[in-house]
């Protein structure tokens, strides 16, 4: 697939609905940090050392391609525009750390977009696997297989006692960050989210709100493990999974309660949000996230039945500012112009996903 397709495509497999526990868990991700022996870590490496890492990783890719049976796109951060880098960050295909200094920073992105391997991010090698729904075990197996394949061909920095050596001591040991992205409108609207955010550090987990603002909550949260040393990957994942299961149960209960005690009000707000998205002529990014949260809730509760749930993932990608600027092939669009373009895009997407009513 060409770079252009990668930038313009509005679908990301792992943003599709219908994954395991897909009504609450949007996606699961495993990220592994690995380094090559002896070569200074990227924050201390000169161009020569960075090029060496690039070269070594380049050589490992053919075997990964063969093992997975799908091609990878190789993107050199120095050779794409600043706007294109931002689009990749928006789509969560790369991390923002990769583009701070673009020289010798490479992203290998699999054809199905579930796997990204990054060269010279904070660590020499970062493997990232993202799957739809609640599927951490599968994502971990996938990431671990790729790790094995790379380890077969290069010398990784590993210490018997301290585990995988990483540039930042907070990643040391397993080098693994497991995370799930949750949609929690029930807990947000019933004002229960604070207690979950406050509780999680005690469980060795971090909860972070993604997108949105205080006035327009996107209700999207990422929850990930904080510790990486002293426990095995499976134990860390199990710990995260049990907490997420708990949150999912609370979220479902909160949604049920909302429907039971204030059904009319909830329905009204959901349809108003949907109506705004369908007809608005100008939408800011924050407003879009706020409205989308309600529409997604409406889709999950089967209150909105005239569009297919697939529109949610597409709007989450196609409604972003850098995406729109890149789409219009004009990085100097003013904020107003972007907001108008965003509204047009949202209207078009919702029309395309409309489910025909027979009667």
């Amino acid at each position: 697939m060409s770079v252009n397709d990668l930038m313009r495509s509005r679908t990301l497999k792992w943003l599709n609905t219908g994954g395991n526990n897909g009504d609450v868990v949007l996606l699961s991700r495993i990220r592994l940090a690995r380094n090559l022996r002896q070569i200074p870590f990227p924050n201390r490496a000169d161009y020569n050392a960075l090029a060496q890492v690039e070269l070594q990783l380049d050589k490992t890719i053919p075997q990964i391609v063969e093992g997975l049976g799908q091609p990878f796109d190789r993107l050199d951060m120095e050779h794409i525009s600043a706007l294109q880098r931002q689009v990749l960050i928006e789509k969560q295909l790369i991390s923002s750390n990769l583009v701070k200094n673009p020289q010798h920073r490479i992203a290998y992105i699999s054809d199905d977009r579930r796997i990204t391997i990054m060269a010279n991010e904070e660590d020499h090698i970062r493997i990232q696997c993202t799957l739809a729904g609640f599927d951490l075990d599968h994502a971990w197996r996938l990431a671990s297989d790729i790790d094995d394949c790379i380890e077969n061909q290069v010398n990784l920095a590993f210490d018997e006692k301290m585990g995988y050596l990483t540039s930042c001591p907070t990643n040391l040991g397993t080098g693994m960050r497991a995370s799930v992205v949750l949609h929690l409108p029930g807990l947000v609207y019933s004002r229960n989210m604070d207690s979950i955010v406050n509780l999680s550090p005690q469980l060795g987990l971090a909860v972070r709100s993604l997108f949105g603002t205080k006035e327009n909550p996107s209700c999207i949260y990422r929850i990930s493990n904080q510790l990486t040393l002293g426990l095995s990957e499976e134990e860390l994942i199990e710990n995260l999974k049990s907490t997420v299961n708990e949150i999912v149960a609370h979220e479902r209960a909160a949604r049920k309660a909302l429907l039971y005690y204030m059904k009319d009000d909830v329905e009204d707000r959901i349809w108003r949000a949907y109506g705004t998205l369908r007809y608005a002529r100008s939408l800011s990014e924050g407003e879009l996230f706020g409205l989308l949260a309600k529409v997604r809730l409406g889709l999950d509760l089967k209150i909105i039945d005239e569009v297919s749930p697939e529109c949610y993932g597409e709007l989450l990608v196609g409604g972003r500012t850098s995406y729109l600027r890149n789409f219009a092939e004009n990085e100097n669009l003013s904020a107003n112009e972007v907001d108008r373009l965003r509204a047009a895009h949202v209207r078009e997407t919702l029309t395309r996903h409309r489910i025909g009513r027979e009667e």
Binding site: F41, G163, S167, P169, T170, L227, L231
Partner: protein, 180 residues
């Protein structure tokens, strides 16, 4: 000279701001300047308090105790990083640094992770016999557990498995070099 902002009090502070509109110079009175100071601090705090800053703090408090008696400064023979550099960046320089600064890092790791021993995945190739060693460790833990629970049949199974693996280790001995 009067304050540029309020125009009422005597200007005592000169500030230079570099922002989206280029360089702006102002002469301010004490009350107005205080407001600017607060602005800058609160604006930065929202953005910049990161794990890195946090680590830098931990690093430096750590060295005061651990590295002070050593006297001479320790530098990594591979990448030339000194322990002072950690205090400033919160980042390690290369894989050899971990060996060089092991003594200083271990208490720090215990503080971050509550442990300083890796119990997770072991690379197949460079891990060598370590994987076997770790399996035996886990089996031993299970053995102890089953003895405590008085599940002796299970315990016997674990014991046999451990013996088998230890035999394997003996056979392979001498084959592989050190991990590092």
């Amino acid at each position: 000279m009067l304050c540029d902002d309020c125009g009422r009090n005597e200007a005592v502070v000169h500030i230079v701001q570099i922002g989206p509109n280029g360089r702006v110079e102002k002469n301010l009175c004490e009350t107005c300047a205080a407001r600017y100071g607060q602005f800058m601090v609160s604006g930065r705090q929202n953005k910049d308090v990161s794990m890195d800053d946090f680590l830098k703090g931990i690093f430096s408090s750590n060295t005061r105790r651990a590295a002070a008696p050593a006297g001479k400064e320790l530098t990594c023979p591979n990448c030339g990083m000194s322990y002072k550099d950690f205090e400033q960046t919160g980042k390690i320089g290369c894989s050899v640094c971990y060996e060089t600064f092991r003594g200083q890092l271990e208490p720090l790791l215990r503080r971050i992770h509550g442990s300083n021993v890796h119990r997770g995945k072991i690379p197949r190739r460079s891990g060598g016999k370590l994987a076997l060693k770790q399996t035996i460790e886990t089996l031993r833990a299970k053995l102890r557990e089953s003895i405590e629970q008085e599940a002796y049949e299970k315990a016997a199974q674990y014991r046999d498995r451990i013996r088998e693996l230890e035999g394997q280790m003996q056979q392979e001995k001498g084959g592989e070099g050190d991990v590092r």
